[in-house]
C-alpha cells in the first residue's frame, strides 16, 4: 500500500456512489494486546462483505491521517486513522491505517464484487 493520495482516493470513492457495493470495515489492536501489556484492552470490530449503497462518500485529511465516511440511505459507515491506500485487482479500493511498526489498525475497503475467501 502507499500513503493516501487524497484526490485519487476521493475520485475512486465517488465511482462507487449509488451502486450496490461490498464493504469491509475492521479495526483491531490484535488478540495479544493485553497479553503483552496487562493495562491494554483487546478491542476490535470486523464486518466483511456487507452489501450497501451510499449516496455520498468523502475522505478528509487531518494532519497525517485520514477519515472516510459513506452516507447510506439509512445510516453511515466511517473509519478513522487511515494512512495508506491501494487499488487492488483493478477495482477494489483498500484504505488502511497502520501503526509505527506497519501493523494494520483499521481498514475500510469497497468493491463492486464480493471480497473473496
Amino acid at each position: 500500500m502507499k500513503p493516501i493520495d487524497i484526490e485519487n482516493a476521493q475520485q475512486m470513492l465517488e465511482s462507487f456512489i449509488n451502486k450496490e457495493v461490498y464493504v469491509h470495515v475492521e479495526t483491531t489492536n490484535g488478540a495479544y494486546a493485553s497479553h503483552f501489556n496487562e493495562k491494554a484492552y483487546n478491542v476490535g470490530v470486523f464486518v466483511r462483505n456487507a452489501k450497501v449503497t451510499f449516496s455520498q462518500a468523502k475522505i478528509v485529511r487531518d494532519g497525517n491521517v485520514y477519515r472516510a465516511g459513506l452516507k447510506m440511505p439509512m445510516g453511515w459507515i466511517y473509519a478513522e486513522g487511515l494512512t495508506d491506500w491501494e487499488i487492488y485487482e483493478y477495482d477494489k479500493l483498500l484504505l488502511a491505517g497502520h501503526d509505527r511498526e506497519g501493523r494494520l489498525m483499521v481498514a475500510m475497503q469497497i468493491s463492486e464484487t464480493p471480497f473473496d475467501y
Binding site: 500500500m1 475492521e26 489492536n29 477494489k92 488502511a96 497502520h98 475467501y117
Partner: protein, 221 residues
C-alpha cells in the same frame, strides 16, 4: 518412540513459535509429523516490516509462508480452511467430529495442540478445545496422547509445572528458520518479544529466552 505426531494449531506460525523445536526433534528421530493448520491467519495485523502485504493479499502470502515453513521442518501439511478469529464462533462439535475423522485416518500416537482456556488467542482456545474433544471421542484403544500447550502469562501459577519441559537448544536454529519462513509475521512478532523483555540484549537474545524451551501438559481424559 512416537509413531506419528499430529500438530493442531489455528495459525500459520503457531507451529513455528510454539513447537518447531519439538517437531524438529521428532523429525530427527524419523517420526512423521502432520500439521493440521486451522486458518490462513487472514486477520493478522503484521503485514511485513516494512509492510508488503495488505488485508486482501495476506492470506495467499501466509499460505505460501506456511508451506515454506513446513518444508523447513519437513512435515506434512493439511489446511482446515477456517477463517482467522472466527473459530470460537463455529460449532465446536462439528470441528471436533471433523478432527476425529482426520485423526482416525492418520492414526497418530501423539497430538500437540493448545491448552483450551490457557492459550491467549480465542482461536487457540477454540481449536485446542475442539482437538481435545476430538481425541476424547476416539475409542480409548486408539486414542493418542495429547500434549496441550498453555501460553498465558500466568499458566505456571494456574496449571502447575508442565509435564513436558523440552529444552530445544539443539534445534534452535531450525526453529528460527521456521519462524523466518513466516516472513510477513516474523519481524513484527520477534520485535514484540524484545519490547516485552527489556533485559534482552537483542531480538535473538529475547527469542532465545522466550522460545528456547517448549512446554506441554499431558491431557488427562
Amino acid at each position: 518412540m512416537e509413531k506419528h505426531v499430529v500438530v493442531i494449531y489455528p495459525h500459520p506460525d503457531d507451529e513455528a513459535f510454539g513447537a518447531a523445536g519439538t517437531i524438529a526433534q521428532f523429525r530427527a528421530e524419523g517420526v512423521p509429523v502432520t500439521y493440521l493448520c486451522g486458518t490462513l491467519g487472514e486477520m493478522g495485523r503484521n503485514m511485513g516490516a516494512p509492510p508488503f502485504a495488505n488485508r486482501e493479499s495476506l492470506p495467499m502470502i501466509r499460505k505460501q509462508e506456511l508451506q515454506n515453513a513446513c518444508n523447513v521442518l519437513d512435515i506434512d501439511l493439511k489446511m482446515l480452511g477456517y477463517r482467522d478469529k472466527t473459530l470460537e464462533f463455529e460449532d465446536r462439535q462439528e470441528i471436533a467430529k471433523r478432527l476425529k475423522t482426520m485423526l482416525e485416518e492418520i492414526k497418530p500416537s501423539l497430538v500437540i495442540t493448545h491448552y483450551p482456556g490457557h492459550a491467549v488467542h480465542p482461536d487457540h482456545n477454540a481449536l485446542g478445545a475442539a482437538a481435545v474433544e476430538a481425541v476424547g471421542l476416539m475409542d480409548p484403544s486408539i486414542r493418542p496422547t495429547v500434549w496441550a500447550q498453555a501460553i498465558t502469562n500466568s499458566f505456571m501459577e494456574d496449571l502447575g509445572k508442565p509435564d513436558i519441559i523440552n529444552d530445544i537448544s539443539p534445534y534452535f536454529e531450525k526453529k528460527m528458520d521456521t519462524i523466518k519462513a513466516h516472513k510477513s509475521q516474523a519481524d513484527g512478532i520477534l520485535g514484540n518479544f524484545k519490547k516485552a523483555n527489556k533485559l534482552a540484549k537483542d531480538v535473538q537474545d529475547a527469542a532465545k529466552q522466550r522460545l528456547g524451551i517448549e512446554r506441554f501438559y499431558i491431557w488427562e481424559f
